[in-house]
């Protein structure tokens, strides 16, 4: 298998691009969680905002990724560093599954449990942190899982605007019409997606309530 020989021969670069890739995915998922989870909680508590918020996240999802990268390129501060731009775009794509699952998870908490908790005199934040979030955590994390897997795939396209990551190999391979080079990017990316999926799944099982 000369793909693997190629990867071994270039292992320094494969490793470097994998790390870059991880960085893009890691930061964007983190930002998407920091924005998406509170937003999901917010729309679960105030249902009249749920349609506009979910619709906006949906629309973002429909923008072709290459076009979004292109649109953002001329933006002053962002365009200076293409990795910033890539992280922003990936964050936007990761929002929908995280917001939607947070919303679904919180809404799914048994209304009798909430009523009992409220009647007992739990404050809104005690209800959120001791009841709603622990009961919704596995649904929220399965949204994060979907977001991570999408991001690993999308991040390969970030190489088109020079943001680095495993997409570099893919684009270079395409230009050189060399399958080995394409696969040197695609295989580690696929593995990364599998590992990330498994990793978040593991955390999800650990945090699942009895």
């Amino acid at each position: 298998m000369n793909v693997f020989r190629f990867i071994l021969q270039n292992h320094d670069q494969v490793l470097e691009l994998t790390m870059e890739h991880l960085r893009l995915v890691g930061f964007s998922t983190l930002f998407a969680m920091l924005i998406g989870i509170p937003l999901g909680i917010f729309i679960a508590h105030r249902p009249r905002f749920n349609k506009p918020v979910l619709a906006s996240a949906n629309i973002i999802q429909t923008i072709p990724s290459l076009a979004l990268f292109g649109f953002l390129l001329p933006v002053p501060w962002l365009g200076d560093r293409t990795d910033r731009l890539a992280i922003l775009a990936l964050t936007l794509y990761a929002l929908l599954p995280i917001i939607r699952n947070t919303y679904t998870g919180i809404r799914g908490v048994d209304s009798a449990v909430m009523e009992a908790g409220r009647g007992m005199g739990l404050t809104e934040s005690q209800l959120l942190f001791q009841v709603e979030l622990p009961l919704a955590v596995s649904v929220i994390l399965s949204g994060v899982r979907v977001a991570v897997v999408i991001s690993v795939g999308l991040a390969t396209i970030a190489a088109a605007i020079g943001a680095g990551g495993l997409g570099e190999f893919i684009f270079r391979g395409l230009a050189m019409v060399d399958d080995r080079v394409i696969l040197a990017g695609a295989i580690p990316a696929a593995l990364l997606a599998l590992v990330a999926d498994f990793g978040v799944g593991w955390v999800e099982r650990r945090l699942q309530p009895q």
Partner: protein
């Protein structure tokens, strides 16, 4: 009416509640004295549950006021008000991710009781509710319906509130378990003398548990009677309830195999 030497623990003063154009409760006046069990009896939609939720402010009256210990409950801090009132509902609403122990000890815990005092309190409450100590470490889904409701009652008594609000607590149980829990409720009440507002649509339960029965219909209070008075009442709705209860067993037995 009841001699009102001490101020009532719970008092509804001309309370109305409207939601989305529907009048759920109108001109509701009721006094609950310390240590008595007042049963709100009526069919569904008569405003029983609404009245109950106005006491711990899960709902706010459209007009009138609800006084708890002689103070309008709108003037009391919401969280303080609720922590002083035990609340038991038909669906129990135990926290599924907490053990029985944590469920019962939750209010004492957020009230900042020391760990060992909470532990003693939980043991005491388990025993009071007729539960064995092994149950403490189980999760709600591992319990039977009757056990779950016992835990629900124990949890409501957690921080020893003076008032208990009970919304058809035994409604979803099988007849034998219900009978058992009613009997234990009476024993418990003899010991604890809580002020209880109890909702049911079952006259048998109302007669058995109530010091007084407040009969409700279409958002209005029809009459307040002791169980003995209720059975003799000439009020058309009250006597309709009594007839339905009497006819109940007879006609069921007569029907036989078809």
């Amino acid at each position: 009416m009841h001699p009102a030497s001490a101020p009532p623990v719970i008092e509804f003063r001309d309370v109305s509640y409207r939601v989305a154009g529907t009048q759920v409760l109108s001109g509701f006046d009721l006094q609950v004295q310390s240590g008595e069990t007042v049963v709100l009896l009526g069919r569904s939609g008569s405003g029983k549950t609404t009245s109950l939720k106005l006491v711990n402010r899960l709902l706010t009256p459209s007009s009138g006021e609800v006084r708890v210990n002689a103070v309008s409950n709108a003037e009391v801090d919401l969280i303080r008000l609720r922590r002083g009132i035990g609340y038991v509902i038909q669906d129990v609403g135990l926290f599924p991710h907490f053990t029985v122990e944590r469920n019962i000890g939750l209010v004492p815990k957020i009230e900042g009781w020391p760990e060992d005092r909470i532990r003693t309190r939980v043991e005491e409450l388990l025993q009071m509710a007729g539960l064995t100590p092994e149950i403490a470490t189980r999760y709600p889904h591992q319990l039977s319906g009757g056990q779950r409701q016992r835990v629900g009652v124990a949890r409501a008594l957690g921080a020893d509130p003076e008032i208990l609000l009970m919304d058809e607590p035994f409604g979803a149980l099988d007849p034998l378990t219900r009978d058992e829990l009613q009997r234990e409720f009476l024993l418990l009440q003899q010991r604890l003398h809580k002020t209880v507002l109890f909702v049911t649509h079952d006259l048998r339960e109302a007669l058995r548990l109530g010091s007084r029965i407040a009969l409700m219909d279409a958002g209005r209070l029809v009459t307040v009677l002791t169980p003995v008075e209720f059975l003799r009442s000439t009020d058309s709705l009250a006597s309709a309830y009594v007839r339905a209860l009497g006819g109940d067993l007879e006609s069921a037995a007569k029907r036989g195999p078809s």
